[in-house]
């Protein structure tokens, strides 16, 4: 019974591995459902490691069970001591050398996987993005196209024929963070004063989820990641649209004034307005994002209003303060935000 239960981690992992081939995904963040080369390599290596350790487990478990059952003191047996065995050079040598060989195999496989992921060189078609971790949100700079956005990363799909991998340079503005989208790649930390990099080349379009996985403060739990993988055309259109300034609309001029006259501008940028703060996310194309607060809430008008009124309703402890705005101010600002497509 006990044994059954503990075999579970190994089997569950294996089951998890198989689940991605069966229609219903076990989880959108399953590390055994890779969709990008680094994740593939890792998953392949992981299965090898799982197999080898699994085999070790089964062998040692059988020996243990056998010994534990076979050699228990039997009720009827005499009161004497069993034969006193002190050791054996041969046997001990054998179980030293076998693990050494196994470790050698594991090491070789691992070393190669490390090199193939870490030493990759960006091909000419690669998209380069700087990722900057902030306490509880992500900032992205598209290097070649002047686009700045937050929390939701857009990248083109890549294929062996037209490789368009995305190379991420990782920085931190404050504490340590870690960029982890399990289906695309392993995680890499964002550390102040210590630039890092990683790459992904997703082969299917869709949304990939993940989240910060290095403890960075109160709201570490709600520093979620969304990666939108688009066809090359869609991606180019998206870039094009994002590089422009904010949409201007006369109907919300009231909200815009309120925004520009409160503290908001100290922290947020809206290109084409007077707001140039960099402490908080760029809001120029806020409405092109599906969530707010790094995935803390869906980007609906009601949620947006509530967020501006009091961010800690969604993210207690986040670094945007409640501004104490009146209802009408709130309505105006929200309406203004709604136009930032």
């Amino acid at each position: 019974m006990r044994i059954l239960k503990s075999a579970v981690p190994i089997f569950c992992t294996a089951a998890a591995a198989r689940a991605n081939s069966a229609g219903e995904p076990l989880s959108p963040t399953n590390i055994f459902a890779p969709a990008s080369t680094p994740a593939d390599t890792i998953s392949g290596l992981s299965l090898l490691v799982l197999t080898i350790t699994g085999a070790m487990f089964v062998i040692v478990l059988c020996l243990l069970l056998w010994a534990v059952v076979k050699f228990r003191e039997k009720a009827g047996a005499g009161p004497g001591e069993p034969a006193q065995v002190y050791g054996s050079t041969q046997v001990e040598l054998a179980w030293t050398v076998i693990p050494v060989l196994i470790v050698t195999i594991l090491l070789l496989a691992t070393a190669r996987a490390i090199a193939s992921i870490q030493n990759a060189i960006p091909p000419p078609g690669a998209v380069e993005v700087s990722v900057i971790g902030h306490q509880y949100w992500w900032e992205y700079h598209y290097k070649k196209s002047n686009v700045v956005t937050a929390n939701e990363l857009h990248v083109p799909v890549s294929s062996p024929v037209h490789p368009t991998p995305t190379f991420l340079s990782l920085f931190s503005a404050d504490t340590d963070h870690s960029f982890w989208v399990p289906r695309l790649a392993g995680k890499t930390d964002l550390i102040p004063n210590h630039p890092n990099s990683m790459w992904i080349d997703p082969r299917e379009t869709g949304v990939y989820l993940g989240q910060c996985s290095q403890y960075c403060g109160v709201q570490h739990a709600k520093m979620l990641l969304r990666v939108y993988v688009q066809t090359r055309d869609e991606f180019d259109r998206w870039l094009e649209q994002q590089s422009g300034p904010a949409a201007a609309s006369d109907s919300t001029i009231e909200g815009r004034r309120t925004f520009e006259s409160t503290a908001c501008v100290n922290c947020h940028t809206i290109r084409g307005s007077t707001a140039t703060g960099t402490f908080g996310p760029d809001l120029t194309h806020l409405m092109s994002r599906e969530t707010i607060g790094a995935g803390a809430a869906l980007n609906t008008p009601a949620n947006l209003r509530r967020w501006i009124q009091d961010p800690s309703a969604f993210k207690p402890g986040c670094l945007m303060p409640a501004m104490g705005l009146s209802d009408s101010q709130l309505d105006a600002i929200t309406a203004y935000m709604e136009t930032l497509r």
């Binding site: 959108p28 490390i114 989820l209």
Partner: protein, 557 residues
């Protein structure tokens, strides 16, 4: 400065008034009493840490739970980790080492009895200081708050900018105190093993427990100091405005990681090696055979101690080291599997061909073998750096280390409690309750920590106070939390058993297990002077020699 003062020993056995008893315990320099103090103190903190674990688990029972606030949650896991490692597990192993090492090597006391007392009290006050932060975390006049930077307190989260107030200072200072205390105890243990052995006990004839604790002491000496140094630097940063870990002034966050893990990894072996020591004493006695391959066991232990000093950066595979650096640490980390494997196989070979008696201590050790095997293998998975890029910082890591620490170390410690309880208290524990404890705890352990691997593989990071539904994590978290309930009840059964048996258990006699090492040759509990006359030994199993004069071990060694 008076000359030696004569006291009459008999006074101790009579019922002294409470104040006198208290005074005796507070001023004692007897290694056995200090050992028991260590253990009781550690049990108290085990309960604190356990209560914090319960709070963590209740919060995580379902997505978007609001049992505690994020701030409180972060304090809980920080305090849980810190408490369990520094104020529960370490004092437990130190307590047993203090109690057992002198007895097993036939000494009257440790090498530095007063240093021993000093070290214990320093550690004890360190723990009190840490918990005082709940009241005085913002300074005496502010509201209380406990540290919330995680047990490895990565920079720059610990800088004044990101953790204002005093909570982080409490963490630093408490660990500084207990760290110095640990170093004192370790120095004492190492010196005791080297200088206080009874006649005839060469290094090669020492019980394995003494060998292993000696290795542990060496590791503490070499690994506590880097932590102490790093804490001093952090203090300089926080109090004097230094820039060691101040990233704005060019300081490095990665340096702290290196310093911490240069301590942190050997630290986990500081806990593991004494656990191996318990297993190496308990398994032979209940299998009725000597330990298989004594010299190899000693060599493997030293190898583990040695290699463990060079593997620290396997906790840092994700911080962006070069591929060569990563590969080196993969190699050194995996190398540890070899000596550890030797140990596992030698314990197995000790059971093999024996007449195994399944008393409670042995049950815990068998479960330990089984669980440590799994835990070590998950460690190997983490050691494969690319695999770790997926698993690091996830619940898989949490599952791995609880599997080692709870399933491995805590289990042998429970085993050690039952095994030496008759010696320490003079009374037998209740075997039925012991078995209840074992089965309940084992069930709870497996419910909790087996299933904890799964959310890790499914992408659940650790240290999150809540999580999103729809990621396939919900059901596992529910099961994990249910398991804790079993563990809590089992722990209460355990504490109850100890108390009840101390008061009403049946008298144990000096040698209830038919053991082979020196502690079983003196009365239970042993008199303050341990041995009326220093024993003289000729083999690794001195009591076997006495019990079997026709076939003694020293014939062969």
């Amino acid at each position: 400065m008076s000359a030696a003062r004569a006291t009459v020993a008999v006074v101790r056995s009579e019922r002294a008034p409470l104040v006198d008893t208290l005074h005796e315990w507070v001023t004692t320099v007897d290694h056995k009493r200090l050992g028991i103090l260590y253990i009781i103190y550690a049990l108290l903190f085990l309960a604190f840490g356990g209560i914090e674990a319960i709070i963590i688990r209740i919060q995580l029972i379902r997505p978007h739970n609001t049992f505690v606030s994020p701030q409180v949650f972060n304090r809980m896991f920080t305090m849980h980790g810190t408490t369990m490692i520094f104020f529960a597990a370490m004092p437990l192993v130190f307590g047993f080492a203090n109690y057992l090492v002198p007895l097993m090597i036939g000494a009257r006391d440790t090498a530095f009895p007063r240093l021993n007392a000093f070290s214990f009290w320093l550690t004890a006050f360190g723990g009190l200081l840490l918990y005082f932060s709940f009241l005085g975390g913002n300074g005496l006049y502010g509201a209380g708050n406990a540290p919330d930077v995680g047990w490895f307190a990565y920079a720059p989260l610990t800088s004044r900018t990101f953790s204002p107030g005093h909570s982080t200072d409490f963490w630093i200072l408490a660990l500084l105190l207990s760290g110095i205390g640990s170093m004192g105890t370790a120095i004492n243990i190492a010196a005791t093993v080297l200088c206080m052995r009874c006649p005839g006990m060469t290094l090669g004839k020492m019980p394995l427990l003494a060998w292993l604790n000696f290795t542990m002491a060496g590791l503490v000496i070499l690994s506590m100091s880097p932590l102490t140094a790093a804490q001093l630097m952090l203090l300089v940063d926080r109090y004097l405005g230094g820039h060691f870990f101040d990233v704005q002034a060019g300081g490095s966050a990665v340096l702290w990681m290196h310093f911490f893990w240069i301590f942190g990894h050997p630290e986990v072996y500081v806990l593991a090696i004494p656990a191996f020591a318990f297993a190496s004493e308990i398994i032979p006695v209940f299998s009725r055979k000597p330990i298989f391959g004594y010299p190899v066991m000693v060599a493997a232990t030293l190898a583990i101690g040695f290699i463990s000093m060079s593997v620290w950066a396997h906790h840092m595979f994700t911080v962006g080291m070069t591929s060569a650096g990563n590969t080196f640490f993969v190699l050194s980390t995996m190398a540890i599997a070899v000596p550890t494997g030797i140990k596992i196989f030698n314990w197995l070979a000790t059971i093999w061909g024996g007449k195994v008696q399944y008393r409670t201590p042995m049950l815990f050790c068998v479960a330990f073998l089984f669980q440590f095997l799994i835990a070590g293998l998950t460690g190997i998975m983490l050691a494969a750096a690319p695999f770790d890029w997926q698993l690091s910082g996830s619940y898989f890591v949490v599952a791995h280390f609880h599997y080692v620490i709870v399933g491995g170390i805590l289990f042998t410690i429970f085993g050690a409690f039952y095994y030496w309880f008759p010696k320490m208290s003079g009374r037998m524990y209740n075997e039925a309750l012991g078995k209840v404890h074992f089965w309940l705890f084992t069930a709870g352990f497996h419910l909790t920590f087996d299933f904890m691997h799964v959310p890790g593989v499914l992408g659940m990071p650790r240290r999150i106070y809540t999580y999103e539904p729809g990621r396939g994590w919900d059901i596992w978290n529910l099961v994990i939390t249910i398991g804790v309930l079993f563990q809590a009840v089992a722990t209460l059964v355990f504490l109850g058993n100890l108390l009840w048996s101390k008061l009403w258990g049946k008298v144990a006699g000096s040698d209830p297990w038919d053991g082979w090492t020196l502690e079983w040759s003196t009365a239970s509990p042993p008199p303050a002077y341990n041995f009326p006359s220093l024993p003289e030994v000729r083999s690794r199993r001195p009591l076997w020699d006495l019990k079997h004069p026709e076939d003694p071990d020293w014939h062969y060694e």
